[in-house]
Amino acid sequence: MPANDYARHEHHAFLDASTQALSDAPLQAALTRLTGTLMAANRRGYAALGDSDQLRDHAKCIKEHTLAHLDHYLEQLEASVHKLGGHVHWASTAAEARQIVVDIARQANCTRAVKSKSMTTEEIHLNPALQAAGVEVTETDFGEFIIQVAGERPSHLVAPAVHHTRESVARVLSGYLGEPLPDDARSLALTGRRVLRAKFRAADLGISGANFAVAETGTVVLVTNEGNGRLTTTCPRVHVALVGIEKVIPRLADLPVFLKLLARAATGQTLSVYTTLITGPRRPGELDGPEEFHLVLLDNGRSRILATPFRESLQCIRCGACLNACPVYRRIGGHAYGGVYSGPIGSILTPLYDSVSENPHLPHASSLCGACQAACPVRINIPHMLIGLRELQHHDRPNRWEGLAYRLWAALLRRPWLYRSALRMAGLLLRPLTDNGWLRWLPGPGGGWTETRDFPAPAARPFRERWKRL
């Protein structure tokens, strides 16, 4: 596979892709800068809150409650949106969701769509479907725009173009515009503003996701720093919000709990620059805003997860904090994970949404250090779920050798004399391989360990013998 393909296509080649990422020097520099900065900001953000632990517990409780009564809150959300004159669509699968959005565009005669950043639309691969139906689609988050022009996938939940440098952005945008652009961030961003303003002005369809959907009021909430979410819901005459069913929250009063956590967890900001509450279409007498509002509720595997012990993964508010905290993500970046979602939460979501058997490495792409859970604004127990996925893999495809090894180990532990002599034997056998107290190379399956790290050699005098004289 050519070097760039991992950035362009989803895949299941985790080991190859992560090996490649490790030797990509610009990527390593970008990841260090991004994750280091955001992780420090995350800690500062929580510290500034004083009682962030209690607030995170409260947020988690709201999510747990909502998921336990999800059917009720979805019906309430639907009724609230209907009352405002909006339309609600139910999409069980990605294919249904694509068809619904394409049909909305057709019926309203829309040919030019602008999108604000939405991982959910990435998940259903909406853009190719719209383009095939003759609708021009423009991503308007600046980072998303860069990678759309480059033909790539986002590599971070909140910083989709983190794998680019200013030089590579200048190359990508120069090629797109057919004019050479200077490679400083400010003029590139302002070029982006100019190009995207024209797109907003011409657009007849605005497509967004939602950070939250409030059941009580029928409100969808968009959080952005650039303002493209506001433009997407201001300029075009039709607005479609594609929302995963887990994004619903019961009441308006629950929203500030999450708003106080989301930006702090993601970037350390007290609040993102723009928090926009969209409640139905434009009202009589208003000069702008969409005439039609469509809410598309997406299942696409979520209800399946709701019934399992992996339900907790549906509490995710997509802040990206676990990516920044993860020692694995910080080395390999987002593209290596292969799916739409990356990092620790992606290692859970991709196997669950896609397939556990086709993503065998993702549940193991973690040292289980718990930094993800510590950073998470809703305290999702990611390590616990990764272990759960490993257990599923084991039931799917039991490893006979592993089973035999554990039975042998158990038999040894039950017989102290046998255990002691086996250890003594192992010490003798390994002595020729011992170098300064470490084993640098092991034969057979042990080679998997020593390929990337050393193993401590058995002590010359076992602790049990020393203990007798202590």
Partner: protein
């Protein structure tokens, strides 16, 4: 459509019930005071400090006359600017329209536009002047709501946004805002909390302002 809706909800209902058997079905507990930050002893100072930290420009002024002078100073730095002017209690009290016109500036009143004639002036404007619905001291945010005389574009399309606010609109904490909103009339079609100028860090984390929304946010807070 109905059948797919029914099947969808039935699936969710069953999955929720099945998962609920493992426990974890807490009720919605009252929040109490958890997460309440408040604004400290001086909410005005807190607001100004937070807005400045987010990259906005706060002007705390004692009275209407000073507010008018502050606005005029800001707009006269750009004498050729197209100004888009909203309406509402705070703006009308200052009679900004008369002051701007007397200074020979190019002013478009939002109230003079209709749906079909508004698009060009919205996109052409250099400065948008609006009121606010609320201010939040904790976060340094202004809250704008869509109304016939204050459209969404007013605080969004022009590269410079000047907002006029009054002391009575200042709330201490984000929780206070949502309590106030929940207690009142139905939500407007669009409500935005704005906390500083439009920002992006998409290229090497370098902060650039004004990438989509206004690059400058000036908030004039009249304390009288």
């Amino acid at each position: 459509m109905t059948t797919s809706r029914e099947a969808f909800l039935q699936r969710v209902r069953q999955a929720a019930a099945e998962g609920n058997r493992a426990g974890a079905t807490p009720s919605l507990e009252p929040r109490g005071t958890v997460g309440y930050q408040g604004a400290g002893p001086d909410p005005v100072a807190r607001f100004a400090e937070q807005l400045a930290a987010a990259g906005g420009f706060p002007y705390v002024v004692p009275d209407g006359a000073t507010a008018i002078r502050t606005v005029m100073d800001l707009v006269q730095r750009r004498p050729a600017a197209q100004i888009l002017l909203g309406e509402g209690a705070a703006l009308d009290a200052l009679d900004l329209r008369r002051h701007l016109l007397e200074a020979g500036l190019q002013v478009t009143l939002v109230s003079s536009l209709n749906v079909s004639s508004s698009r060009d002036p919205f996109f052409a404007a250099d400065i948008g002047i609006s009121g606010v619905a609320y201010l939040v001291a904790e976060t340094g945010s202004i809250v704008v709501v869509s109304r016939p005389d204050e459209p969404r574009s007013l605080s969004l399309l022009p590269p410079v946004h000047i907002a006029i606010a009054e002391r009575r609109q200042l709330l201490p904490d984000l929780f206070d805002l949502f309590e106030t909103l929940g207690a009142g009339e139905p939500l407007p079609s669009c409500l935005s909390l704005i906390t500083g100028p439009s920002k992006t860090g998409d290229i090497e984390l370098r902060l650039v302002t004004g990438v989509h929304g206004p690059g400058e946010l000036h908030v004039i807070l009249v304390t009288s």
